[in-house]
């Protein structure tokens, strides 16, 4: 076999393997989607989006409270996780020292690896026990903590990508450094940071474990952030392990809605990246 033929063969094999790997990666997602649509669409109707769960034994009802609850939890989580993550990431990207940034980066990576249930226990101990009740606040904060390292590292990376020449151009105008960072560097990295934020939100939207003993779940509309609150993942979990056929169907529908929400968030993230570095006005 000539050298060229050997390389061609090698190229084909490698291409084949890479293509197969890509297929295998996509396959589970496609299967999950097909299965969810198949099982979930049966119970999906207007009531599902507008009604509270019915008491045990009564058919019908919906998960409107859980959908709203998940949105509220995500809002609280974003209020905690986005500012901390974004400003922490800015700090990491801009600081010239080496020890403190190293430590923060290390801790963020550790935090990223902490199982979400452990973060739930942490929120339980620090918030639920002293407040003496499960609450939306505790659940939102637990999710926010999970978001921090994701947002932090994407922000850092994207702020680092802003060319030094751009900062210098602004500094040379006699603009103080902190203003250069907030008004020139941050807006330039904005699209990427938005993507990081969306990825983080999508990631925590489906978290169940930390919510079990923080947000707890609720069969009614939300009653304030210091009260237990319903959330889709909790509701799905509760319904899926129940003995009722009707609830199983609703659990599938809930899962479908949750996936659709995550899908929408990811889609927004993708669209936002497309404008990366491009002018906005």
């Amino acid at each position: 076999m000539t050298e060229l033929a050997r390389r061609r063969l090698y190229d084909r094999v490698m291409r084949g393997l890479a293509g197969a790997a890509a297929g295998v990666v996509i396959l589970p997602l496609v299967l999950i989607l097909i299965f969810l649509v198949y099982r979930g669409s049966a119970a999906l109707n207007l009531d599902f989006f507008t009604h509270l769960p019915k008491p045990v034994g009564e058919p019908g009802g919906g998960m409107a409270n859980a959908i709203v609850g998940t949105l509220i939890l995500l809002a609280i989580a974003s209020a905690v996780g986005l500012p901390l993550g974004i400003f922490g990431g800015l700090f990491l990207a801009e600081s010239r020292g080496s020890r403190l940034p190293w430590l923060v980066r290390f801790l963020a990576d550790v935090l990223n690896g902490v199982p979400s249930i452990v973060i739930g226990i942490f929120a339980y101990t620090l918030l639920v026990l002293p407040m003496r009740r499960f609450s939306a606040l505790a659940g939102g904060i637990a999710l926010g903590v999970i978001m921090i390292p994701i947002v932090l590292r994407t922000t850092e990376e994207l702020v680092r990508l802003v060319p030094a020449s751009l900062r210098e151009a602004a500094l040379a105008l006699g603009v103080p450094e902190w203003k250069v960072i907030l008004r020139i560097v941050l807006p330039t990295a904005r699209a990427g940071i938005v993507t990081g934020a969306m990825v983080a939100i999508a990631r925590v939207a489906g978290e169940t474990a930390p919510l079990l003993f923080t947000a707890f779940g609720n069969r009614f509309w939300h009653q304030g952030i210091d009260q237990p609150i319903a959330a889709l993942p909790i509701q799905i979990f509760a319904y899926a392990i129940s003995p009722f056929e009707d609830w199983h169907r609703q659990a599938w529908a809930g899962a479908l809605v949750l996936i659709a929400m995550v899908f929408c968030v990811s889609l927004v993230a993708r669209t936002a990246t497309r404008g990366l570095g491009r002018p906005t006005r």
Partner: protein, 252 residues
């Protein structure tokens, strides 16, 4: 007391690497001073020391004195931010702020230092764009992105942005090296025009350009200011053998 910029015993380092050695020079108002020399000889570093941009680079260090109209720029109480407002800078590559419109680019210097008055902003933007000979080309599309302009227009936009904060001195670091000949000619015309209002210092690796636009020229080699004098003398009767070799094209 408008006696321009006076540089005394200036040295500069990147870490351990000394890139400027004991430079003395005087750049007078109402004239253009050209800085020439082979690449890597310290031309950019020299002008970046004048507006205190050198120290922005990590581990960079400066020693010596720079005076603007008699005032120390490296005094212990001097804020580098204030120095940079008084001494504008234009870079080799035009770098408009990518997220801003043409108007916002020019207004950026004022806005980011706290000016809100819309009337004043509009006045300033128009004046700066006229001064940079760009007004007629962009006056109907001020809301368009600065990045949508051609290279030469972008460079004039950057000049307008620098002029908008009304600096006393304008430093230009090879402002034409990324531009085509027609855009270059426009900028050169502009440089000659600008010297009436400010002290202008232009770094260039193009000796014809130095000869065309400047009254004074400094020749750098390996971090040393080898020769500084009237442009015509420096090109026709250089005092130093090294200057002669460089301007006659024997090296570099």
């Amino acid at each position: 007391m408008a006696d321009g910029i006076r540089v005394m015993a200036l040295s500069a380092w990147f870490g351990q690497n000394r890139v400027l050695r004991n430079v003395f020079a005087n750049m007078v108002p109402g004239a253009v001073t050209a800085i020439i020399g082979p690449s890597g000889c310290g031309k950019s570093t020299f002008i970046r020391c004048i507006n205190r941009m050198h120290e922005v680079v990590p581990l960079a260090r400066v020693d010596g004195r720079v005076l603007l109209n008699g005032e120390e720029l490296y005094g212990p109480t001097v804020d580098p931010v204030v120095v940079r407002r008084r001494i504008g800078m234009v870079f080799q590559k035009p770098i408009p702020f990518p997220t801003m419109s043409i108007f916002d680019n020019v207004a950026a210097g004022l806005r980011l230092t706290g000016v809100r008055d819309r009337g004043r902003l509009h006045e300033t933007v128009e004046r700066a764009l006229r001064q940079a000979a760009l007004w007629d080309e962009v006056k109907d599309e001020l809301a368009k992105s600065g990045a949508s302009l051609s290279g030469g227009q972008q460079q004039r936009l950057c000049i307008a942005r620098a002029l908008a904060v009304e600096p006393e001195v304008l430093l230009m670091d090879e402002p034409c090296s990324a531009l085509d000949p027609i855009a270059t000619a426009k900028i050169e015309e502009l440089i000659v025009e600008l010297k009436r209002a400010l002290t202008v210092v232009v770094v260039t690796h193009n000796m014809q350009q130095a000869a065309r636009v400047s009254e004074w020229t400094g020749f750098f080699l390996l971090g040393e200011l080898v020769e500084f004098g009237a442009t015509r003398d420096l090109f026709t009767h250089p005092r130093d053998k090294r200057t002669e070799d460089y301007v006659t094209g024997r090296f570099g």
